[in-house]
């Protein structure tokens, strides 16, 4: 594996395994996530890629019967330590889901403020704060006249960027995205990919995707998962041009998956 990636890792999975009941979904994954870079996790359906990122912010354990073994380090400290509150981990490691899920009862503005309000915080100047965060999510120009409309009234792509804004409002250090474009049309997908590209300046990003083109376009590093195992991890350029494992080559050339 790449030594430079290990050295500049913001987060690191260390022999991470995960189960749903008796079924093992991840098998001893060790993987660095490089600071202020985009890491893509690719692989066929059911390979454990979503489970993997849900372990990174301790969302895996929310599901009944789910458990993990091994460790995840954030800035060198375990997020699974006995004294670690998962609520604090999730504020530092934000998450965007596959299906846009803005809060339907809240306006666009309130969706942006939701993360802070749910923690009992109101920013000193909410209007300026909302404008800044929506600007970061490349959504401000499209919704500045619709801030009081319900979040669910936006288009699918706008809803997803609203969810990204809602996540960025907490100023996380790492942003996890679980197939963020899989329910979006090509134009909306392009906007989100552009946004991911820009966000790399400030955040460490992990994107799960089943689209190899997307992984090739947005990521600096790429990890290929297959049947719950990490098959190969390298610079995206290397993975997509000279993969070393024949299974990776089969997958990226479309022979299975």
């Amino acid at each position: 594996m790449l030594e430079s990636a290990e050295a500049s890792a913001k987060m690191r999975a260390d022999k991470l395994s995960a189960w749903f009941g008796d079924k093992q979904a991840l098998r001893s994954i060790s993987l660095p996530l490089v600071e202020r870079k985009v890491t893509a996790v690719i692989g066929p359906s059911g390979c454990g890629k979503s489970t993997f990122i849900r372990c990174l912010n301790r969302m895996h354990e929310v599901v009944a019967g789910a458990r993990t073994a091994g460790d995840v380090l954030l800035d060198g400290k375990s997020v699974y330590g006995a004294d670690v509150d998962p609520v604090r981990v999730r504020r530092r490691v934000g998450m965007v889901f596959q299906k846009p899920n803005p809060f339907p009862t809240m306006s666009v503005r309130d969706n942006v403020l939701a993360g802070l309000r749910l923690s009992g915080i109101t920013p000193p100047d909410p209007d300026a704060f909302v404008e800044e965060v929506l600007g970061q999510a490349a959504l401000w120009d499209e919704v500045k006249d619709a801030l009081d409309r319900p979040g669910g009234a936006l288009s699918g792509g706008q809803q997803q960027r609203l969810c990204i804004a809602r996540c960025l409002a907490l100023e996380p250090e790492v942003v996890l995205m679980d197939e963020p474009c899989s329910s979006l049309d090509p134009v909306a997908t392009a906007k989100i990919e552009e946004l991911i590209h820009d966000l790399r300046e400030r955040y460490t990003i992990v994107v799960v995707t089943h689209s190899m083109q997307q992984a090739a376009r947005v990521s600096d590093y790429t990890a290929f998962f297959y049947l719950g195992e990490l098959v190969e991890y390298d610079l995206a350029d290397v993975i997509f041009t000279k993969p070393s494992d024949p299974r990776t080559e089969d997958y990226i050339t479309g022979r299975f998956g």
Binding site: N57, M59, V62, A64, V87, R88, R90, R91, G94, M95, F97, K99, N101, P102, F103, P104, T105, A114, G115, R117, L118, S119, G120, P150, G151, G152, A153, C163, R166, C167, L170
Partner: protein, 281 residues
Amino acid sequence: MTPELESAYSGRKLASRFATGASSVAVVLALLPLVAVFAYVVSRGARAISIPFFVEPIGERGAGMANAIVGTIQLVFLASAMGIPLGIMAGLYLAEYKATRLARAVRFSADVLAGVPSILVGVVVYAVVVVWMKQFSAFAGAAALAIVMLPLVARTTDELARAVPDSLREAALALGASRWRTALFVVLRTAAPGIRSGCLLAVARVCGETAPLLFTAYNNRFYNDSLLDPTSTLQVQIFTYTMTPNDDWHAQAWAAALVLVAIVIVLGVVARRLLDEKVPG
């Protein structure tokens, strides 16, 4: 079309017409008692209703039911204040911890409690509250009504909160919200329109409850001085007046019945409206 098909087709058409006719008759038969009760209450009640009915307390000729109206309102408000918050919190617990053994036990008990004859609730509150306080009181009556409301509110909240998609819970949890804030600010808020209408239906239900009040709020010819005094209600007053041989009091009972039915209908209509109010998204 071949003749065989033609005859099979006309047979089906006949069967269809018969079935439609039979279910229409069933609908009319089912609605008949409701319409009959309603029409009778309106025709008898409307004759007896008057201004004094609303402003004069219970008494002889020319008196009204003002203190009973106030009593019913007091009791229903007090019962709602006790039963609704408790029921909503319990229902939210049932929904958020739906698979735990405690939640299953509580859900089963709520279903049983909803089926307990309400007079039993009155007897229990008598034994616990009235005997302990050594007198009938509005408070005891409200407690009995709250117990009748509790399973209705809890199960409605439970059902509606469970219908809130998990993706919204995950969104809140991933934003670093604690479990209880997620339940209160996301789940409850999303399910709120339905829960509001469920609560109104529970209120409407206890507006008409008489049996639990017979041994708890009891009755009072005057306005009560405090919530710790026996209290008159429309429901119990209807019962009391109906048992007398006095024609004037019979008329008063019909008027009271009309007012009660009107309250229940208004609550039902408002509840329906709230339920139809679509949540955007």
